[in-house]
Symmetry: none
Subunit: 411 residues, 2 copies
């Protein structure tokens, strides 16, 4: 079964609002096995909307529209859909009663143009709106269906979940299930080479790569007659990918990099303290994203100045003088110092040149040292990062979290 999504409304066409409705519908339709090959956005304009219906229903069985069900004259989605199917609108009394009730409840009376919202083709299935005044509807002619939903996301989402989803599930036979594997430290192109055998064999399940900032998501999607069968198709593919990528995988589905690190720290009860220079609080802030971190997160220090590095962390003045604040030696002393000061198992440190000023030939913008002290052992890593000040800081933050993760799982 093929469907298309048509978003109707000038505010989306002109970019005044982000189209979250399309994303919601696309995701929901995929999850119940309805294929979507096109989405469109068009303004409140009869001619253009008619052309969209023509084009879409040539290619697909179902069109789902959002928007254009309001009480004013420029709201015309329902009227145009009925006209396209050559169906006449009649007053639907239960809907009109419901609109009256809605207004009574807020001590108001509906205006005459609200009545427009209660007109529907005689044979349409009316979709109740429990969050606003505009009912939706399912219009059918021959084998083609137009489902019209209101534009406000809260009304649309509720109406879809309550009425449209059950209606569509009834029409479909298969379910579609996805699992995501999350990878850090291997770029998209390199991943494609590593996984080329799996990627080429794509059919059911399919395997797709999605590049994120510094990371790649691998999504495995299967179609089957029920959830168990879909999961059993996915399982061996995921195991295969895991056997190839091993430790580069930091999580699954909604798990973040900081979640995966924080989880290990809490599970192993490893106390941690963080000393940050160029990242300026980002590493601590990421770790604290994880609820329950308080049992092992002892303290974070944003030691941006040399004085703070010496006084707070015990970095030696001679180290700073001889090697500079951005150096392997300083990163090591920061990591060791912060761990010692706060009596933790682990100390993290970052020091680097985030720019835009301050770079030299030897120490260019983007040079960052990250230090990790764990139970008596210290490692330090030199990074050369691209991007503006904020990106360099964000990338250094992700990199140290991933290095710590690798260290922890090998412990």
């Amino acid at each position: 079964m093929k469907a298309e999504i048509i978003s109707v409304g000038t505010e989306i066409l002109l970019g005044d609002i982000v189209n979250t409705n399309s994303q919601f519908l696309a995701k929901e339709l995929a999850s119940i096995g309805v294929e979507v090959y096109y989405q469109q956005t068009v303004g409140d304009n009869e001619d253009r909307l008619i052309k969209c219906f023509e084009e879409s229903l040539k290619r697909s069985d179902i069109v789902i529209t959002t928007g254009g069900l309001g009480p004013t004259d420029d709201d015309m989605t329902k009227e145009v859909a009925a006209k396209y199917f050559n169906q006449k609108l009649e007053l639907h009394n239960p809907s009109w009663d419901k609109i009256n009730l809605y207004f009574n409840k807020i001590n108001k009376v509906p205006t005459e143009n609200n009545k427009k919202q209660a007109y529907f083709p005689k044979d349409a299935i009316i979709l109740e709106n429990n969050n606003g005044t505009a009912p939706g509807a399912i219009l059918k002619k021959d084998n083609k269906t137009i489902i019209i939903l209101p534009g406000p996301p809260r009304e649309m989402v509720a109406m879809f979940n309550e009425s449209v989803k059950p209606y569509l599930i009834n029409l479909t036979e298969d379910v579609i299930i996805s699992k995501t594997i999350k990878v850090y430290g291997i770029g998209e192109s390199r991943l494609e080479i590593k996984l080329q055998d799996i990627l080429k064999k794509q059919s059911n399940p399919t395997v797709a790569l999605y590049a994120k900032e510094m990371a790649v998501d691998i999504r495995v999607t299967a179609k089957a007659e029920n959830e168990d069968k879909a999961l059993s198709l996915i399982k061996p593919v995921i195991e295969n990918i895991k056997s190839i990528l091993k430790n580069s995988i930091y999580g699954e589905d909604d798990e973040t990099l900081e979640d995966s690190v924080a989880k290990i720290l809490v599970d192993k009860n490893l106390k941690i303290a963080v000393a940050e220079s160029c990242t300026g609080g980002m590493v601590s802030s990421q770790l604290i994203n994880y609820p329950g971190i308080s049992s092992i997160f002892m303290e974070g220090c944003v030691t941006y100045s040399n004085e703070a590095k010496m006084e707070r962390l015990g970095v030696k003045r001679e180290t700073l003088n001889k090697f500079g604040a951005v150096s392997e030696e300083t990163a090591i002393e920061m990591a060791q110092g912060v761990s010692k000061t706060f009596n933790t198992n682990i100390g993290l440190s970052t020091t680097g040149i985030a720019g835009p000023e301050g770079g030299t030939k030897d120490k260019p913008v983007g040079l960052v040292y990250i230090g990790i002290y764990i139970n008596g052992q210290t490692i330090v890593k030199k990074l050369n990062l691209n991007g503006n000040r904020q990106l360099i800081r964000q990338r250094a933050t992700k990199d140290i979290l991933n290095e710590l993760r690798l260290k922890l799982i090998n412990m």
Copy 2:
């Protein structure tokens, strides 16, 4: 001049990500007087993409695509666009050199499939990508134009601003100039009422509101035959808005809230230290976004535990026992303590319940106290914030920066 936007990519089609690219482009195109009547989304599929090009270029002069420029085989936007125009792809050496440089910098070598990103039709205008590996391009045939841009928003936005916008403005006769005023602490609907006289008079310049997280941007846009004339249309409107909103305005154009605060601190040479509990490093991290902050940012402390609050900041045990860590009293002692410890003019503090656990009837999730000590005076403010853990922390961070800003400009 009519344009259409085609978003290419399975991740948008399947609803994995929200299509912010279309919104950005729609808004930008409207601002320079390019008309957009349709937006489309299509997967990485040659036949369907060709059909989209056909349909769109029948109706419009220009098609702008986003996505599908990656190194892998399913990335095919450029190849399909060239095929549609019947143009052959050739290796563009400067682009290939640039890709090599990009990888060299991060101590990696490009894979053979990265080379695909450097192939273009001979006569295409190549658009440099300063934030990633995939260059964009402008392809032309007869009176029709296809502009292909990368999918990652950061790369796409920069490329549009640097190359595409000037190119399109050149094709139009008038110049369009925008100035943005940035407001914190007044919601969009309230702003609309405050500015209703100005908003109603919109024609040239137009005045539009754009709600951001916790803030609203007011964009004033004028169209005129040259920049000076456009600016002289904008100026009185901006002055009018400033006279109404006064201190609620924190900046103009690209200025961020943290920029505006940090700038005052540096100008007035006011030394600052930060003690964070629930925000866990976000306040420090935001301040350090500002280059040049090092002259006045003394130190940041992430004192997440009670022990850290006592040992590092001198918060009294009896205060924590009597009032709790999340209290006005603790926030005051944290702000005063961090300022005293690091000998600064200003001390900031945050303490709150970010959730999802830990809320009680008296102290629900979202309760945050922020403290500001400035030269002998301490203020504390109680916030009740909505949202998930991350949002509550981000909102508390923005709120304390704005409170500090208001304090500083009244000094």
